[in-house]
Symmetry: C2
Subunit: 418 residues, 2 copies
DNA sequence: ACAGCTTAGTTCATAGCCTTAATCGTGGCG
DNA sequence: CGCCACGATTAAGGCTATGAACTAAGCTGT
């Protein structure tokens, strides 16, 4: 129940947004097709499209002949109208990537983080430095960068300051958006990494075409990105989707969150390896880090390993069933490095177990798939944040004049660019 | 990412909707105040309000003097512009109620259902008969009834036909909306009863003022209505919120759904009484029906009862914590007859247990309250369905001419009106 | 009693938007 | 070269909200 007036200008903006979104999503289209699919009159389509061509936002993509008539002019969003920068602040490194408007990656910079709890100021410095680095690398004027999207772990309150709470980084109420905004005029968007990965999967991966989906991510931690009606579900304070710490086994295993019986304690990588160690009389799976240990476990064919993995699939299926019962999605996309490792081997069994635990009808309405994009998709998903804004606003005039990007607090380490 | 054009007429409709909603929600308001709070120009407010007064939709509610100026004219939605009928198809009776636009109940009819799986045709006949009965009783022209909202148990697919799937009624794909539409011209809205009760609580009960809330209902069955951004969350096929059959105790008690470890098997009335019986060496709690048995259990102070109830609160808290983690609401409203019975005695402990199971931050952002409205609120919530439509559309002209309501297939039983 | 002030609400000219209908542009066909 | 088919543009018209000027209604002080 929104209480905002509508003015005559909103109308034009809304219609520009409709056209721009169609053109961007459904590839090159003629004015005629645009008229059909948007129900706008051809005159308005011409008018609005003409304006956008004048701004350089839309361009002619080619002609298509018709039998005995004027050939149709195909239109597309001009890939070089502007550029998008997406950044992924991970636990071990910061990745910054530059995309054009077709979401083609043009440049990339990476900054290792070797401390467990990096200083926010240093992260900001890395990000601003990365912003300059990728534009230089791609030979792109920073003034044409439409926005910087940043993905971080933890919850991000959607206020103007983009306050970040991240236990894994040791951040408590860091106004990352405001800090970045102090260093550059380029519009900044900050969001949770699971949500940006989910966004990327929805647009370019296993979620394509779905309007209601849950992207379930299983790694060391366990989380989910919920998409309803095409947009990310945030809840009152943007922390919705905390799937990992829902209770699935009342009074069960202790979880690192301090609680008992969390899903994460059973299907998170740490939980799986820990359970294997217990089942294996204290001897852990081989492998240096968690990832190789889990790989080893998946390859080994001992009875103990089988039993532990079987149990894991059981818990995972029950957890996915809970998502299906509560959110009634049309698709569940399973991802995260551990989720993919499990899914690649056990997907049919996961489906089976889920079917047993979920209500019949919601289960029948949902399909369960695996993520299609690699972990780099977090940065791409972050870059979709400014893209969404561009589409929603029907394109905005680029800021005039030189764009300020302060990289004053020089990062202590040169980026590894490639 | 909607793909609908906007025309100049949509604008007027949208602004009418904004004004009407404000007037309806925030009581009598002057044109000036409306201008302030909607950001519409005074000229437009006057224009739009004038139109709505002309239609009889809005009326003058009084004057308020000001020191040295023209007195303000207060406006309100005319209560008698139209009427709303809400119906609750319960397991034992059908209740039909007539409301004016201030949601004041004016008439009521009740039809007992004595079979476990009532024939859809008979239910439709009862509903149509009730529609006539309440209008006659209140002396209201059926032509002024703006809509009939019907609440049923089970899931309701939101298509035009309002297909109902209800295991408890033994209905499988009953197009209740289409069947009712065949019997009357009055616009029909069908929705799930938990969702309509949730809607009523949100507007008039414990949910007032919240934009993100979960109404958790515990009775014989267990379910939840999720409200996000002021509207009911439905998911892909309208069956979202199936909280009762989420797994909370992996490989736990068998549930009537056939699965193991469902929340409902622990905190549903049947589950509680069953667990008590087991703990009490096979002797059930006294009392005829479930409701009085649970009441008896709550009053008894034996150690066994205490233990069972304590455990119940534990499971319930964990279940509520799951809702908080997944949906990040600003409020959780606990209801349903068993939920209220438990909540009245144990609310502080429920809060405590929930705090232990939920993540700290989402828990701190949510408050846990009890439902404030009685079970009659299901019908009132159903009546809000046409009200929502009226507000969303900014008022619609009433259908001209006589309104058809066929009550041909006479119900076999006279209604008990009062 | 009446001018002067204050606040509420209305009227009117204007700019902006989309739509329908007519017109222009471009290519194929006989 | 005339005709036709189809795409795109231009022109005329109907709606909408807005701002400025204007009217309405009540209070205050002389």
């Amino acid at each position: 129940m929104d209480v905002r007036r509508t003015t005559v200008r909103d109308m034009r903006r809304a219609n520009r947004a409709v056209l721009l979104t169609r053109i961007w999503l459904d590839g090159p289209l003629s004015r005629h097709e645009l008229g059909q699919s948007t129900a706008l009159s051809l005159a308005s389509v011409s008018n609005l499209v003409g304006e956008m061509i004048g701004e350089g936002l839309v361009e002619v993509a080619g002609l298509v002949e018709s039998d005995g008539g004027r050939p149709r002019v195909l239109l597309r969003v001009a890939p070089g109208y502007g550029y998008l920068v997406g950044a992924d602040v991970g636990e071990t490194r910061i990745q910054v990537e530059l995309f054009d408007l077709t979401m083609t990656a043009l440049a990339k910079a990476e900054y290792p983080l070797d401390v467990a709890a990096p200083d926010p100021g240093q992260v900001v410095a890395h990000l601003l430095h990365g912003l300059i680095a990728v534009t230089e690398q791609a030979g792109v004027d920073p003034g044409t960068v439409l926005g910087l999207g940043v993905a971080v772990s933890g919850t991000v309150e959607r206020a103007a300051d983009a306050v970040v709470h991240a236990q894994t980084l040791g951040w408590e109420g860091v106004p990352l958006g405001a800090m970045l905004g102090a260093g550059t005029d380029i519009p900044v968007h900050v969001d949770n990494g699971a949500k940006t990965l989910g966004q990327a999967e929805m647009w370019f991966g296993a979620g394509r075409g779905a309007r209601h989906a849950v992207v379930a991510l299983v790694g060391s931690g366990v989380g989910a990105a919920v998409i309803t009606d095409g947009v990310s579900y945030r809840g009152a304070h943007s922390s919705a989707g905390e799937w990992g710490h829902t209770t699935i086994a009342y009074a069960g295993r202790r979880c690192r969150c301090g609680n008992h019986g969390c899903l994460e304690a059973y299907v998170g990588a740490e939980g799986i390896l820990d359970r294997y160690r217990q089942a294996n009389r204290g001897r852990p799976a081989a492998g240096g880090d968690e990832e190789s240990a889990l790989g080893e476990l998946l390859r080994s064919e001992t009875k103990t390993a089988e039993a532990v993995l079987d149990e894991t699939v059981g818990y995972l299926g029950a957890g996915v069933a809970n998502l299906i019962n509560l959110f009634n999605p049309e698709r569940v996309v399973l991802g995260g490095w551990a989720g993919l490792a499990l899914g690649e081997r056990f997907l049919p069994r996961i489906r089976e177990v889920t079917a047993r635990h979920a209500l019949r009808q919601p289960y029948a309405q949902a399909s369960i798939e695996l993520c299609q994009l690699g972990p780099d998709a977090v940065a791409m998903g972050a870059a979709t944040l400014p893209m969404v804004r561009l589409l929603r606003d029907g394109g905005v005039p680029r800021s005039a004049g030189a764009v300020r990007v302060d990289a004053l607090p020089r990062p202590g380490r040169r980026p590894r660019t490639r």
